[in-house]
């Protein structure tokens, strides 16, 4: 530990004289602290005293940066000299829904340049909502000889050429996880760029690429990577091809199939069934695009130890789901499409007593029929059967206050409650009242609630409840809700642990915005779009709080005094310099 010796001589000549805690030799302190993984624990540790601050910064190997603009790469490199793994998040979450201009920023390149100089031994990079170009990927591929793991989630700006550069050059790669990105898919030949001598891959996820993959290259790759434990294929892979791959990867713990609907002969089906029946150690299953009900039984034996089943691409009917779930007794996380309807949700309640997370996605979000998908009845049915439920994401066309109250009574341990009534501003469809009492029940009953997304017709009362009861709330998403500034003021005045607040299309204006002046410094970020905030309000905020970056995104043709989209975040790096012209930094 050369570096720590150096540091000891420079930074802590008086360590022996400090009382109590600091009388540990630094090596011991660092050793102990190196066992700390949680970055929050580490933050607390670094505040204890100078010695602990130093020991912590030298022993930290992983850094998590929730907002890439809150700090600069140079500052990070200066404080943490021994980083091996970086997690970075960029754009505001609403960029997932096309609310952020394309060229907004969050480009990884400046970071990579600094990392290449300061962290030549970087091993892992996990990015979410960052902009990455092929040049950046090419730089990444050659600048870090020990590079092992790349995970890209919701990023954009690159193409499969960039992936080819990674495949070609990263000799020690163990993980390549390309999820849900805005990737320019130029074809599947990048897979063939892994050299024949390359055998280290353990995690490969290209499920959301659309083009055909070079299957021979994939087959050979899977064949020679004996440690592969996660393989998530894209839709272009047929059942037959899946079969061939599985034969070569007996130890897979997580499988994402390709398309599950090829016409199979009886023999082929039996072969597949046989191969899958040996997969007792599989704990995660996903993919299943276009899943044909008649082939699902092939999966049954493989589901014995399944804890996470992602059916959100398989438009199953309720009966198909019910039969499948009967074979998944250990399920903890389940994602489905609402084609399974309330009957399917009842089946979940009956078959999955250990369920902790349920996500129900709409199959046809813009459909016209009113009664479509799942309703409050299904939600309630699940809650009766799954008392351990603590994470829910539920898209529905109708909901009632009473149903939500019942759900949280049955499942009081919710930590993440995201309810999306798809028609904006829709009231309780039975009583025609606002949905205030529903979310009131949620925050009153679920004391551990960390994340809440509200929807439906909501008055300020909802936000009064939230401000008053949601003591552990960290993330709040609000859309088409509220009656006046008072609502937002309640939230900003309550919710002591609030970190992220994202609001769209609500009648909150300057008074609300400015009521949170001090609060914003303890938060990661605030987003407000299509509200009633004006440029003057934003300017005032910027003036009063110099340590906040206040950015306004203007839209063409809008009134000059209106602040269409506002993004406020704390930063020790000062205002950013890479904002496009449509983004004004105040």
């Amino acid at each position: 530990m050369e570096s720590s010796e150096l540091k000891r001589s420079k930074d802590s000549p008086n360590s022996d004289e400090s009382a109590g805690l600091s009388s540990f030799p630094d090596e011991v302190l660092e050793r102990v602290l190196s066992l700390l993984k949680s970055h929050r624990d580490r933050s607390f540790v670094s505040l204890v005293c100078k010695d602990w601050y130093n020991a912590e910064r030298w022993s930290r190997t992983h850094v998590f940066i929730g907002n890439c603009y809150s700090v600069s790469p140079e500052i990070v490199a200066r404080r943490f000299p021994n980083i091996r793994s970086v997690t970075l998040k960029g754009k505001p979450r609403f960029s997932d829904f096309n609310l952020v201009p394309q060229n907004w920023g969050a480009d990884i390149h400046a970071w990579l340049v600094v990392f290449a100089a300061k962290y030549p031994f970087l091993e892992e990079l996990r990015l979410k909502r960052m902009a990455i170009s092929d040049e950046s990927l090419a730089l990444l591929a050659v600048a870090f000889p020990n590079f092992k793991a790349l995970s890209l989630l919701s990023c954009d700006g690159f193409s499969t050429n960039g992936l080819a550069a990674i495949a070609t050059n990263c000799k020690n790669l163990t993980e390549l996880d390309i999820q849900e990105n805005g990737i320019d898919d130029k074809g599947g030949s990048w897979l063939g760029c892994f050299p024949e001598s390359f055998t280290s891959l353990e995690v490969l996820n290209f499920a959301n690429l659309t083009s055909d993959i070079n299957f021979d290259a994939l087959e050979r790759l899977v064949g020679r990577c004996k440690s592969m434990r996660v393989l998530k294929l894209n839709r272009s892979i047929s059942l037959e091809q899946l079969q061939r791959l599985l034969v070569n990867a007996p130890q897979l713990a997580e499988l994402g199939t390709g398309s599950f609907s090829q016409e199979l002969t009886f023999r082929q089906y039996k072969e597949l069934e046989c191969t899958l029946s040996n997969r007792k150690n599989m704990h995660t299953l996903s993919g299943l695009w276009e899943a044909k009900g008649i082939y699902l039984p092939a999966l049954y034996p493989a589901c014995t130890n399944l804890t996470f089943l992602n059916l959100s691409y398989a438009a199953l009917q309720s009966s198909e789901l019910a039969k499948l779930l009967a074979h998944c007794p250990r399920l903890k996380r389940l994602w489905v499409l609402d084609t399974v309807q309330d009957k399917g949700l009842e089946a979940i309640g009956l078959n999955c007593p250990l369920l902790e997370e349920l996500r129900v996605f709409p199959d046809d979000p813009f459909g016209e029929e009113i009664v479509h998908g799942v309703t409050e009845a299904g939600f309630v049915a699940v809650s009766y059967g799954c008392p351990r439920l603590h994470y829910v994401l539920y898209f529905c066309q109708q909901m009632t206050n009473a149903a939500v109250a019942t759900v949280v009574q049955n499942c009081p341990d919710f930590t993440h409650f995201r309810l999306c009534i798809m028609n904006p501003g829709q009231p309780d469809y039975l009583t025609n009242e606002p949905m205030d009492e529903a979310f009131g029940a949620v925050v009153k009953t679920c004391t551990k609630l960390q994340r809440l997304s509200v929807s439906g017709l909501l008055t300020d009362l909802t936000f009064e409840y939230i401000g008053r009861y949601a003591k552990n709330l960290e993330t709040l998403s609000v859309a088409f809700a509220g009656s006046s500034d008072w609502g937002m003021q309640c939230v900003l005045g309550g919710c002591p642990k609030l970190r992220k607040l994202e609001i769209r299309d609500c009648p909150f204006g300057n008074a609300a915005l400015l009521s949170g002046l001090e609060k914003y410094e303890s938060m990661r970020s605030l987003w407000m779009s299509a509200c009633k905030v004006t440029m003057n309000g934003c300017r005032l905020l910027a003036r009063e709080m110099p340590r906040l970056n206040v950015e306004v995104m203007k839209e063409d043709g809008s009134d000059d005094s209106q602040a269409d989209k506002v993004y406020v975040y704390r930063s020790i790096a000062g205002p950013r310099r890479d904002a496009p012209p449509s983004v004004l930094t105040l």
């Binding site: 096309n98 201009p101 394309q102 954009d156 805005g182 016209e368 299509a530 043709g557």
Partner: protein
């Protein structure tokens, strides 16, 4: 040549339409294809592109006639989007036009075409990530889905939500690797109800054009009657026809039908649009040339 749709390359795509006054949309608003309304309508819909480097070549979104939800604006075309052409296939720059609808004005209820209120007419709502939207609409839908719901707006919205803002997924619905039937949507300007045509049932452009004429122009009489702006069928089939046939390719670009060999066309076409020639003004001279070239080329 008598009859026949003119195969013409088009620019600017368009998808489902909701007119807007206030725009919460930074990138894309929606142009209604149900419009059979005069080009000089006061309410102009914009197709805003948010391309790398600039706010994009946005059309104007004038908060004009707040009451005229019934009217549509003119359809913007290639000449309104110079950057579409120049920014194609750049790394990190989307070449497709993504549309997810526009913010509904508070009191607005309906819009042209009489399509559903609520969901689907607001940018980024319901909050479903783009990749998931694409995946959903890529899947073969159950029979209940497509055929009985082919109201223009809804289709357009679905198509719209399909397109990613980022470098999009390439969706090949005509010919996919499983050899499924190559039904693609066809929409014609001025007609709110779209159709579907099986491309695999044709072996050449001529035959396709014929089928489309049968589909749209024969039956246009009844539909066109209410909308005075729709040209009477008899005029449509002229050589200097009012309509041209364009298609959207895998990359999300709107292209001339007829430039490439038939099989290549099959592998890249996603859907078709019978577009008004008047909208393709800037391309007129080229159009005539290539038109003749294509016609005389054996396929």
């Amino acid at each position: 040549m008598e009859g026949g749709l003119i195969l013409l390359g088009g620019g600017g795509g368009g998808s489902s339409g909701v007119s807007t006054k206030e725009s919460a949309v930074s990138k894309v608003e929606v142009v209604s294809e149900a419009s059979s309304y005069p080009a000089e309508s006061e309410l102009e819909l914009g197709l805003g592109l948010s391309l790398g480097g600039s706010g994009g070549a946005t059309g104007k979104t004038k908060p004009a006639c707040s009451s005229s939800w019934g009217e549509c604006g003119r359809i913007l075309t290639a000449k309104d989007f110079p950057s579409v052409v120049s920014h194609k296939a750049n790394n990190g720059v989307p070449s497709s036009i993504a549309v997810s609808g526009t913010k509904r004005a508070a009191e607005s209820v309906s819009h042209e075409g009489g399509s559903p209120t609520g969901v689907g007419h607001v940018v980024g709502w319901p909050p479903i990530r783009a990749y998931r939207m694409n995946s959903l609409v890529n899947q073969a839908k159950a029979p209940r889905a497509e055929e009985d719901k082919e109201i223009c707006e809804k289709d357009k919205l679905k198509d719209a939500s399909k397109k990613k803002l980022y470098n999009g997924n390439k969706i090949s619905s005509a010919v996919n690797e499983k050899g499924h039937l190559g039904f693609v949507k066809v929409n014609m300007d001025g007609i709110p109800i779209g159709r579907k045509v099986d491309l695999n049932a044709h072996s050449c452009y001529e035959s396709l054009a014929q089928a489309l004429e049968d589909m749209f122009l024969r039956s246009a009489n009844s539909v066109g009657a209410e909308k005075e702006q729709v040209t009477k069928p008899s005029k449509l089939l002229d050589e200097s026809s009012e309509f041209v046939l364009t298609y959207e390719d895998k990359e999300g670009d709107w292209m001339l039908v007829g430039d490439v060999p038939w099989r290549m066309f099959l592998s890249s076409v996603r859907r078709l649009r019978i577009m008004r020639t008047s909208e393709a003004n800037g391309l007129a001279p080229r159009f005539h040339e290539s038109n003749e070239r294509q016609r005389s080329k054996p396929i």
